[in-house]
Symmetry: C2
Amino acid sequence: MTRENKLPPEERPRAIVEPVSELTTNRLSVYLRCLNALETSGVRTISSQALAEQFHLNAAQIRKDLAYFGEFGVRGIGYYVTELRRHLRQILGLDRGVRVAIMGAGNLGLALADYGGFRDDGFEIVALFDTTKDKIGRRSRGGVVIYDIREFRKIVKREAVQVAVIAVPAASAQHVVNIVVGAGVKAILNFSPGALKVPRGVKLKSLDLTVSLESLSFFLAQGESGE
Amino acid sequence: MTRENKLPPEERPRAIVEPVSELTTNRLSVYLRCLNALETSGVRTISSQALAEQFHLNAAQIRKDLAYFGEFGVRGIGYYVTELRRHLRQILGLDRGVRVAIMGAGNLGLALADYGGFRDDGFEIVALFDTTKDKIGRRSRGGVVIYDIREFRKIVKREAVQVAVIAVPAASAQHVVNIVVGAGVKAILNFSPGALKVPRGVKLKSLDLTVSLESLSFFLAQGESGE
DNA sequence: TTTTGTGAACTAGTTCACAGCT
DNA sequence: AGCTGTGAACTAGTTCACAAAA
């Protein structure tokens, strides 16, 4: 019973309308990280219960998340760490590496380019892009070349870029996104504040620092009067 | 039973158990940013409908979000931009400035320290902390002083730090969080990957770059076969 | 036994739709 | 007329609880 579509017997929507929520895929990443650690420390099997205790999650939720993609567990045993890890990497598309370009060679862009945390998981930062004459042709400390953004289309093809990271000032973010989309990139991670428009079929994910900080500020402001 | 018990029947915690979800507070930030822009361009009033069209949100949701905190609107008119903006800044605790310390003067920490986007909204980066001898005593390009993390407790008091940002390697993140919490800081923004433990009463918000990238990678991997 | 996979029940979050104010 | 504030209806997401498998 790998992937039976239940419910409307013949009124099935065209194609598979992706039933997996973003919350689920985010958790898959978290599980994968945990499995990496478990494998390193030589653990062979893990139950959903044990996995759930690592973070504050519910065991049934982990089982449901995994069940979207297959029956990976063994009743009475749990999940084989190595096997589940391999499956998750495949589901997340990490088995073949993911090639990433960073738009904007400012503080943030350069910091992200040299941040090593991704590499192990299968991401490779293949290029930086900027408009500033002085920066173009130089490299980040970690060795990532900074290209003229006018060459974006060309480099995307040559380097098979699949993901673009937006690390430019808010004022030029939409313009840069348009260039990125125009070159056929289908996945964008955005660090600039504010709403950006992308056409259907392009996935935009935003990490908004200001929103996060303000959420913390709200917590502090409420706590003050509340307690 | 990982989390909290089902609560004693009528021994429910005193006061109003905050009914405002994090999704709501995140949206308040978004509304605020929009109001800032509207005020700058001289717009006097805005309806929930018009606000909703800016991002892809529902007008009723905006009204509900705001209604948690008061009746700010005027029927037949909408919301007065300046007034609503002032209210939101107050609700989010931005009217008095928010003082922020950054843990870790690596690429990311330095980039965040010099990122200007916050300042306008009422955040001030007052200190960087690190353990590396060479870095201590120096400043970021923007002028934020790098202190020895052993001085954290002292500086927190002196500078009235309310929020700490974790920008250290994953391996030392929990240790640094413990120091931060030990010094009485109640709000933490975490950029390091992996789960961190904080005591109850401390708010931890994590922005996990790897999780976000993997979510995009998943989208790409699915799209390939799906369409 | 133990632990998965999963329908059913529950909870949280969103949208609808309309009474009521200006 | 126009638009808010809000109960009711709906949708999405989580947790429970148990039959079935090893």
